[in-house]
Subunit: 469 residues, 2 copies
Amino acid sequence: MINTLYLPELREMLAENDRTGLQEFCGALHPARVAEFMEGLEAIEMWQVLQATEPDVRADIFSFVEEAKQVEIVETVGPEGISRLIADMPADDRVDLLSEVDQEVMEQTLPLLPQEDRRETLRLLGYAEGTAGALMTTEVARLSQTLTVHDALEAISRQSQDLETVYYNYVVDDQDHLLGLVSARDLVVNFTRPDTPISDLMQRDVVTVLVTDDQEAVAEKVANYNFIAIPVVDHHRKLLGIITHDDVIDVLQEEATEDAHRSASVDPLEDGYLETVWHQLAWKRGIWLTVLFVAALLTALALRGYEEDFQKVTWLVLFIPLVISSGGNTGSQSATLVIRGLTTGDVNLRDWRRVLRKELAMGLCLGGSLAAIGYLCAVMLTRSVPESADGVASAVNAVPTLWEVLVVPITLLLVVMCGTMTGGLLPLLFQRMGLDPALMSNQFVAGIVDIAGILIYMTVAMIMVPGLW
Amino acid sequence: MINTLYLPELREMLAENDRTGLQEFCGALHPARVAEFMEGLEAIEMWQVLQATEPDVRADIFSFVEEAKQVEIVETVGPEGISRLIADMPADDRVDLLSEVDQEVMEQTLPLLPQEDRRETLRLLGYAEGTAGALMTTEVARLSQTLTVHDALEAISRQSQDLETVYYNYVVDDQDHLLGLVSARDLVVNFTRPDTPISDLMQRDVVTVLVTDDQEAVAEKVANYNFIAIPVVDHHRKLLGIITHDDVIDVLQEEATEDAHRSASVDPLEDGYLETVWHQLAWKRGIWLTVLFVAALLTALALRGYEEDFQKVTWLVLFIPLVISSGGNTGSQSATLVIRGLTTGDVNLRDWRRVLRKELAMGLCLGGSLAAIGYLCAVMLTRSVPESADGVASAVNAVPTLWEVLVVPITLLLVVMCGTMTGGLLPLLFQRMGLDPALMSNQFVAGIVDIAGILIYMTVAMIMVPGLW
């Protein structure tokens, strides 16, 4: 929801070119709030507000502006105007932004950055999206192990302008190999013992991630260990950068969105739903929809073998959707529970026997209940045949016996069991084969159970209804 | 996956009662790693390892042990043995644990805690689950605004043993009203100007949450502002505690799991999938399954009105599952995209017109494509009628004309459009009515579209196929 609380004031100050007012506004609030209050402004107006502030506050506020708007601002202002702001941004945000703007704008902006920032940006741009390298920032405090607490505090204090965080500081040798971690906590706690060498305080067993690690693995580590940041190293344990807790939260949310999309058979979107252009959205939905459609065609193929039977026993048609949706719904439940369990680490491959037992019990219990309700309703539905216009029950719709109607509950029990088994075990099988279990989406499970459901239904009917065999 | 790397060594040290070895093991690694390596041990063995370590390291390691195992340890060791460890835990973790253990054990443990810890625990136990109060810890640095940087660092250094974080420190008046925030960063940066009063540094516009706020709202704020912690206040802006970034990550993961479960019509589980007892799992799945089942019964009711028609035109039966699954799949896609958009703040209620337009376009485009494929397949399926045993195409299965088969693509287009509209707009309607849009799960949308699909299918057939009207 766009916050319009301060929009009139902001616009007035802009109209009057009230730089002091704007500066005060930007300085008094948290940068994230300023960005929030500016959301309703046009790109060019935002830029005018930002110009009124101090350069470092400007970069802070700009980092909190939505990415789509950032891109708009960069493309409106142009390389010359914007390069200073871009140089002031944290390296990871800068790279994210530059990889989003128009290729030409990026190529014109890069040469305008200070040499060091430019080199760093080019290097970070080289890491594949979704890896630790693409997520990290290089602005991290590097300390020598010979420092004392007092010296370390002084060194950090001096560098702090350029640091993403001062909370985790890394001790390295002169080739940048990671030796240990000294947190701001360690330093502050020992503030009253300023001569303590940091090598006495530092944690030597530092948990790291490789620059090529997947961002999901990074997020999992930070979440498990409750870290504020995690260092990124290469194969020689050379410190390349850090990933901070706020980036991890972004990754976790991104991954949750991806999983949600996959569960509904949508190829994960890169941008928000509203921002995705229609042909991209149509493709990402259409591709899976077509696959599911082809699978559903198999149900038509399966039913074709029974066309004559339906002509003889029409009431069987009534329960086709009921039977297949019951199987599909139970299957989706099982699949979602197991996939989410695998994602959160609650379920592991070696738990397959427990999953099997659990889903078997669920199938019996849920299938049994639905079968009981289903039998009652099926009896009622087939007994009270609707009357034809002439007031007599139509002769063609012969009323099935209570025995014959048993086809419905028996099928329901079997189909629900088929659903729980398929939904519970297929994600594990996918994981076992090294595939993403989330690919076994609700709809895929439902598709498989649909076909199985029709085959089960008709087989049970063949056995139970006289004259069908 | 349980890490069994150090299990043999740990068991050997336990057997030999090698306290020095155990102490070294626990001290050398990050507490989270120690907890990880102990995962394979029995509760009583874990307790023996923990006893070998220093009390404060012990509490740290214990905090990282899985909750189910924590409960087991507490219930195995008993109130007398465990009370010291429980007193050493951070207040929020302590409360989480005590609300999980056996009521009797809790009542016996509480009197054994130091008075202050006991009072605090009782107070925190009083906040409703899912609120900021239940999530917060009370161990936060409170500073007076008259302090200088040097004094503040000293004060924090002194209190640090009892603090959950030293990174955010709050300036309060003598009635604990929140005046401002001084981060460790502010202090470290000004380390070289030790006489600066902290009132010069402190941020006065502190973003807070109310103690009664929902945990989801808390997580959203921390995620948006990239905070390490957020202060919890009452209505008089009195500082009650803080919530730290690691708790926020837990909340975000919990909420993602809840949303995933809801999307598959499972009432969110409180514990993990494997830990949930079967009758609870059966209830949480069965309740929604029954609701969906009753909805599906309506499809049977709808079909009953057309029994005679199916007898006349049997080939219509073949495409029932295809038609309804296409509608259901598209509907689930739309619902998931919009629900996830609402959750991440990417979509708002006032965007309903854009959602409408988008889903209309999607419906036309996806429905049109499926209709084209569907027509081709339907023609093929109905032309190549399987032959009866006597080698002649069965007379009852009259081959439909190309015109008649148009029923299938026309229905597909309409059903897919119905799916995108229902899936796209119902979550917005739910949100508008103050309900959780996630209740409009994939299966509910599918259920609604199923019934609509059958009605559309039969209506189109009535119009297109001669002799059915």
